[in-house]
């Protein structure tokens, strides 16, 4: 049982890290895109 868990860890750890980093970079990219697209000037009466 212990050996099975060790092998599962050898697969799960790098897999989880790889997918987590990809997700993180995608999140950063989307935030950068949203920030760039959301820079609108408000109208004179302040209603946006």
């Amino acid at each position: 049982m212990k050996e099975v868990l060790e092998i599962l860890l050898l697969i799960a750890a790098p897999l989880a890290w790889g997918l987590f980093v990809e997700w993180l970079f995608e999140l950063l990219r989307r935030r950068r895109t949203n920030t760039a697209g959301g820079n609108h000037t408000t109208s004179d009466d302040g209603t946006g």
Partner: protein, 293 residues
């Protein structure tokens, strides 16, 4: 001047982990750009520079490749550089091929001198890499719309690869391709992605960008199978693998971004150049071993 023994003595503890992370960054860039898992560089350099035992280097490299290829494949999927149907066929085919290759490897090794056999396989691998580099480079700039080998061979049934807009691909041909590459990796221990990318372009007809992403998906499954095999004999260091992954995580994003910016022709030419350099590196190591025997 610092010799290799001095470098290995210096690289202990945190210095070793930092060096592995830096090394992983470079490997990650190649993974993101070219769809290779990095095993072909990681194994010899772990052995040569870090002094890690060969089997442990192979096992740790395979574990590292799980993370690198998963990250790269996910990134290329978002960029739509991915052909899922071909990946679903090639992944199990190459795992079967790897098992056959590993078995054939063991049988041949028991009948011939092990050292001579290993040197012969390295020599064969150098020849294959040079042929791959030449064919990939000379194929660059070919006109679009030309039918691939798997579209022209008379061997059905046939399938379509809608994500790559390819029709009439020979299914037995595709399966055979996966088994063949799997056998090469099983016999030589390296060469999954570095063989997949050019063969997906030249034999299947995928565009270079889609070949890169699809290759990473196939390599992911192969590396999981390989990690299980080496994990069962205690030849995987999670510390080494995760240290490499810390650096490669950033490198892959850089590599995938650069890949997106390159034209298909330039990507193929660059890939051919990388494969050629790899062949030279392995040939140099091969000659060095021959001269010291």
């Amino acid at each position: 001047m610092m010799g290799l023994d001095d470098i290995q003595a210096y690289l202990q503890g945190p210095a070793l982990l930092a060096a592995l992370a830096g090394f992983g960054l470079i490997i990650g860039i190649l993974t993101g750009m070219f769809g290779v898992g990095g095993g072909f560089m990681v194994v010899p350099l772990l052995k040569l520079i870090f002094g890690i035992d060969y089997q442990l280097a192979v096992g740790s490299s395979l574990c590292f490749t799980i993370g690198a290829s998963a990250s790269g494949a996910a990134r290329h999927m978002r960029l739509r550089n991915f052909e899922p149907r071909s990946m679903a066929i090639l992944a199990p085919a190459s795992m079967i091929g790897a098992m056959l290759g590993g078995t054939l490897n063991d049988i041949l090794k028991s009948h011939v001198d092990a050292e001579m056999y290993t040197q012969s396989m390295h020599g064969l691998f150098v020849v294959m890499l040079l042929a791959t580099a030449y064919v990939t480079f000379s194929g660059a700039g070919k006109e679009a719309g030309r039918r691939s080998l798997l579209q022209t061979i008379v061997l059905g049934p046939r399938i379509n690869l809608p994500a790559a807009k390819l029709a009439g691909i020979s299914l037995p041909g595709l399966v055979s391709l996966g088994v063949f590459i799997g056998m090469m990796t099983g016999m030589m221990g390296i060469g999954g992605g570095v063989l997949y990318v050019p063969l997906l372009i030249l034999v299947v007809g995928l565009s270079p960008h889609v070949a890169v992403g699809t290759s990473l998906g196939v390599v992911l499954f192969g590396s999981i199978a390989g990690t299980v095999k080496y994990g069962m004999i205690g030849q995987v260091s999670l510390i080494v693998a995760m240290s490499l992954l810390i650096g490669s995580a950033v490198g892959i994003q850089i590599g995938a971004h650069v890949c997106k910016k390159m034209s298909g022709t330039r990507l193929r030419q660059s890939f051919a150049g990388m494969v050629f350099l790899l062949a030279v590196f392995i040939a140099a190591d091969f000659v060095r071993n021959l001269l010291t025997d």
